[in-house]
Symmetry: C2
Subunit: 131 residues, 2 copies
DNA sequence: CTTGACCTTCCCGTGACTGGAGGGTTTATA
DNA sequence: TATAAACCCTCCAGTCACGGGAAGGTCAAG
């Protein structure tokens, strides 16, 4: 399979697939004309990566997950702890966004949003010691 | 005031303050020795920027907000619509993270997390057509 | 034989900084 | 007076995970 076909099959842009080769996540063969030639296992790997990335795992995490996936003697505890750590980081991001949202929606509600210049949003931004 | 003093006062790292000068968000004077010399209005601006950034506004948004802040004839509607748009983008980020969290926490719960290799998390990652 | 759809490499840009090298200035202390 | 610590400066490179685009080679169809 050429890169376009693989791209269609796994949903990753060709650019991304080339990038993944650059950083050593996949290692396709080459045809005589220089084109990348992917095997089924390469496609499988790329799908795995795409799915892991869509769950928010970093490239570094993905590398580890791939290693674990290919290691038949892995302990599921290792996978779980990695996922757990990622979950925790997702939770803290959500918490941070929720806080922003609460503050900002409060301010937006307080703002008349008309032609007049008076604006509680700007007033808040100009008041550093307030939360 | 020198940069260190301003940094303490507004909570932004000196590096960040220099960066903000580079991109034209503040324009402090210079002392004879080449040190930046900040006025109260500069500090005020930087505090404004820090607060806006902490609410997740992009640098570009911050630039607009500063302009609006300094424009006495602004309409609060302009500020509100900017904030509203930002709120919406926060909401979509939260939704995305919530989806990741739901999927991943489900998988984590299903994983034994012991010495055995069987792992629903890896199994899911290896199954592209599943959600 | 040409057109268009592929594929290749290479380099630059993104956002918002952060780290570090290499060096000048000021202030406090011995 | 020497020196050490604590400031300050500029400039360059790196972060993360790609995306855009240039410049050019290859392949199948009409």
């Amino acid at each position: 399979m050429n890169i376009g076909e693989v791209s269609n099959a796994c949903g990753l842009p060709a650019k991304t697939i080339r990038y993944y080769e650059d950083i050593g996540l996949v290692a396709p063969n080459r045809s005589a004309n220089g084109y990348r030639r992917f095997r089924d296992t390469d496609l499988h790997k790329l799908s795995f990566l795409g799915r892991a990335r869509s769950l928010g795992f970093s490239i570094d995490d993905c590398r580890t997950l791939m290693t674990l996936y290919e290691d038949q003697t892995r302990a599921s505890a290792d996978v779980k702890s990695l996922a757990q750590a990622h979950l925790t980081s997702i939770e803290s991001k959500i918490a941070e966004l929720n806080e922003m949202h609460a503050t900002l929606s409060h301010l937006v509600d307080a703002c008349a949003g008309d032609h007049r210049p008076d604006c509680p949003i700007l007033a808040d931004l100009a008041t550093p010691t307030q939360t």
